[in-house]
């Protein structure tokens, strides 16, 4: 009898645990959607956005997407719904998230991150009237999907030039979050830029984790250890293309009096990094916010076009930041390379 009671309790505890995890994983369903739908005119845009791991507040990639969404919201007063992803979730969970948005009447859905490609390829054909945007991937194509991709290698090339010019030892470091083709684009561009500015420069490369372990984007302790190893080996500038783990890289740089390079957002100006901002010499900016905003505007104006849209250096999709004034003295040289890439004189490969 006692044994039975114990088992029932355990089952109860398990169910409770699962329930809470589910609550934590996503904002509560479409409950609020019903009431707003009634109060807004039918012509109003309803935009759903599904984040990648890290979500709003990651000080990096997802925050950039959120800024584009916020801008659209403040300008056109669109109705938005944001859902977050959890680390280590399956494609089925991503699929559910996209379906939840599409079923909830959100006719414009933005999937942030290449991790949604598989899920979107399955979901999109079922909702022909919904317009989807997929950021960072061309793996899911369709008549109602716009693929927003960036030329990360071109932006990384520019910060590679900056790093090589600022380095006194000629040794540079690259800390990647997870060893995926996308992050390799950052590495390849960075190395190419460094070698272009200083042919004898060397780049130490370290990826924090290997797929399918994606914790490398979310583990500052690992970022700090990897960066410390590089600094001890004589490296004096490290490019952190590692999402939230980049915080650890900057912490290490600050402790050792070295320099770091940020990624995705202008990380010098992020409040969460205020205490280490003086080591962030520049950031490779990837204007996910512009892409998201442009996409929303195109749908609003009825100008949606399916297919790939490349945000490269020429289109202003990627750039480097000058906040903090640490690269002011070499700005002319960097801008020189920028002009050459824009004009097509220099072609930056995206693969090794």
């Amino acid at each position: 009898m006692r044994r039975m009671r114990g088992l029932r309790l355990a089952a109860g505890a398990l169910a409770l645990g699962l329930g809470l995890t589910a609550c934590g994983g996503s904002d509560s369903g479409t409950g609020s959607g019903g009431s707003t739908q009634a109060s807004t005119p039918a012509s109003e845009l309803k935009i759903g956005l599904a984040y990648d791991i890290g979500g709003r507040g990651d000080q990096s990639f997802n925050d950039s997407a959120a800024r584009g969404l916020d801008k659209a919201k403040s300008e056109f007063g669109v109705d938005i719904k944001e859902l977050e992803a959890a680390a280590g979730e399956t494609d089925a969970q991503k699929e559910d998230r996209l379906r939840q948005l599409a079923e909830g009447g959100y006719t414009t859905v933005i999937a942030v991150g290449y991790a949604y490609a598989t899920a979107l390829a399955k979901v999109a054909p079922d909702y022909a009237e919904v317009k989807f945007a997929l950021i960072d991937s061309t793996d899911a194509k369709g008549a109602n999907i716009e693929n927003l991709v960036f030329a990360e290698q071109e932006g990384s090339f520019l910060v590679g030039v900056a790093a090589a010019l600022k380095s006194t030892t000629g040794k540079l470091g690259f800390v990647g979050g997870v060893n995926t083709p996308l992050i390799q684009k950052f590495e390849v561009g960075f190395t190419a830029g460094a070698k272009a500015a200083k042919p004898d420069a060397t780049v130490e490369v370290k990826y924090l984790t290997q797929p399918p372990d994606f914790t490398g984007f979310n583990d500052p302790a690992k970022g700090e250890t990897a960066a410390n190893g590089m600094f001890d080996a004589g490296v004096d500038v490290v490019y952190a293309a590692a999402g939230g783990s980049g915080n650890g890289v900057f912490k290490a740089a600050k402790a050792k009096g070295k320099l770091g390079i940020g990624v995705d957002s202008d990380q010098y100006n992020l409040p969460a990094l205020a205490e280490v901002k003086d080591v962030i010499m520049t950031s490779m900016i990837k204007k996910v916010d512009t892409a998201v905003y442009d996409f929303i505007v195109s749908v609003k104006d009825g100008k949606f076009t399916a297919g790939e849209k490349v945000y490269d250096l020429k289109a202003g999709g990627v750039d480097y930041s000058t906040s903090g004034g640490k690269v002011d003295d070499i700005k002319a040289q960097i801008d020189d390379y920028k002009a050459k890439i824009s004009s097509g004189e220099i072609k930056v490969s995206s693969t090794k």
Binding site: A10, G17, G57, Y207, T225, N228, G229, N247, E275
Partner: protein, 418 residues
């Protein structure tokens, strides 16, 4: 009771008794280990093997693991298996994030401990009072805790300056201490790259330079736990609840009370581990623990449910982890080191009559040695696996010397000895 006596009889059969090892033997083993490390460093040209930076990184990585292992030891010594360590660590990271950004690192540690205790209490109520299967309760806590932490972090951190839905604002780091003078002298010696001398200097320098007070606290807690559990009447009673609860009960020990204390202490230590992780990372992040609770459990088993052993296990894991993250040249050298270690194990096993095990170790050792000489580097895809491979090998080869608390994980009801 019958079950207890039959296992007792099996263990009483004349198996080889473990020889008592004198302290100076440990010292000799340590010296020999550094000698081998030094030789490998010179041979492979991997200066990072014994550099002070590696030792520092290893210590930082080892502390949360050691705390998790210590937490597991407290619970299992009291007879309760605590597989919910990971969840309790997550609670600890959240508690540290919540208090840390507002009131500093020490408040972070206190709150992490407190939330860990809450997790431990939950496990104690389920397993001790209600007799729930220990594994089921632990798994439930591992599912519950990350959800709860995420829910709370959205509640408290989303609008805080510098915070987000899944991360806390910045936590100030705990103070770090350096032994003045000594650190510089050792640094000079380390820089010379002399055989053995520089290696010892590098390791020592890592231990006396920029050491976080949290690391010092963790070391003290490990020593303190050893003293409490093995040198006081309280500890004897607590351990008796893990070995033979019915016998303890017959001698007037309130078994439930001791089990409760053990599991609550376990939760507290796990929470501390989480708090140390969050403070040294500078913030709470969702999913930050990344399986460290489970690795802590492995370190505990490696350490034979004893404080010295689990500290060694956690350090070993922290060391390989640090090497893997700092540079792949050192990981390549690790292959050779592993090969040598396995051959040593093979010799030791052969002498103590375990011929099969000895053969396996020798074969693996030769294989690793061959791999080292036949290649220039370890593929990046495998570097990250180095800590796990090392742990797995060590666990696999050392397991016949291990003896868990006899009744850990077994259900116990009050009065069942009558």
């Amino acid at each position: 009771m019958t079950a207890g006596s039959s296992t007792g009889a099996r263990h009483a059969s004349p198996v080889r008794r473990a020889r008592k090892i004198a302290p100076w033997v440990y010292f000799l083993i340590a010296v020999a280990a550094v000698l081998v490390l030094s030789a490998v460093r010179v041979l492979a040209g991997a200066t990072d093997l014994t550099s002070s930076g590696t030792v520092q990184a290893a210590l930082t990585a080892a502390v949360p693991l050691a705390m998790a292992a210590l937490a597991g030891m407290w619970a299992e010594r009291g007879g309760v298996v605590n597989i919910g360590l990971e969840g309790m660590m997550v609670l600890g990271t959240f508690g540290a994030g919540y208090a840390g950004y507002q009131w500093g690192p020490w408040a972070a540690v206190a709150f992490g401990l407190l939330l860990g205790v809450v997790g431990g209490l939950l496990h104690a109520v389920a397993t001790v009072s209600f007799g729930v299967d220990h594994i089921i309760s632990g798994v439930a806590i591992n599912l519950l805790a990350p959800g709860a932490a995420l829910f709370l972090s959205k509640l408290y951190f989303a609008d805080a300056p510098g915070g987000g839905q899944k991360q806390s604002p910045r936590i100030a780091d705990a103070p770090k201490v350096t032994v003045p003078g000594l650190s510089d002298v050792l640094g000079t010696v380390e820089g010379k790259h002399w055989f053995f001398v520089s290696d010892v200097a590098g390791v020592l320098r890592g231990l006396v330079t920029e050491v976080s007070l949290l690391t010092v606290l963790a070391a003290l807690l490990i020593v303190w736990s050893g003293w409490v559990l093995w040198r006081t009447p309280f500890g004897l009673r607590l351990r008796s609840c893990g070995e033979a609860p019915t016998a303890a009960e017959s001698l007037g020990v309130n078994v439930y009370r001791y089990k409760y204390l053990a599991v609550i202490a376990s939760g507290g230590f796990a929470g501390l581990g989480g708090a140390f992780l969050a403070v040294s990372s500078g913030q709470f992040r969702d999913g930050q623990t990344g399986g460290r609770g489970f690795i802590g459990l492995a370190a505990m088993i490696f350490g034979n449910w004893r404080p010295g052993g689990l500290a060694t296990g956690a350090t070993l894991f922290g060391y390989t982890d640090a090497l893997a993250l700092r540079g792949s040249a050192a990981v390549h050298a690790l292959l050779l080191l592993l090969g040598i270690a396995l051959v040593v194990v093979a010799v030791v096993q052969y002498r103590s009559g375990h011929h099969v095990l000895s053969a396996v170790a020798a074969a693996l050792g030769v294989l690793f040695g061959y791999w080292y000489f036949a290649s220039d580097e370890v593929p990046a895809e495998l570097v990250g696996a180095a800590p796990y491979v090392v742990t797995l090998l060590v666990l696999g080869l050392a397991s016949q010397r291990l003896r868990p608390p006899r009744m850990a994980g077994e259900p116990y009801r009050k009065g069942q000895g009558k």
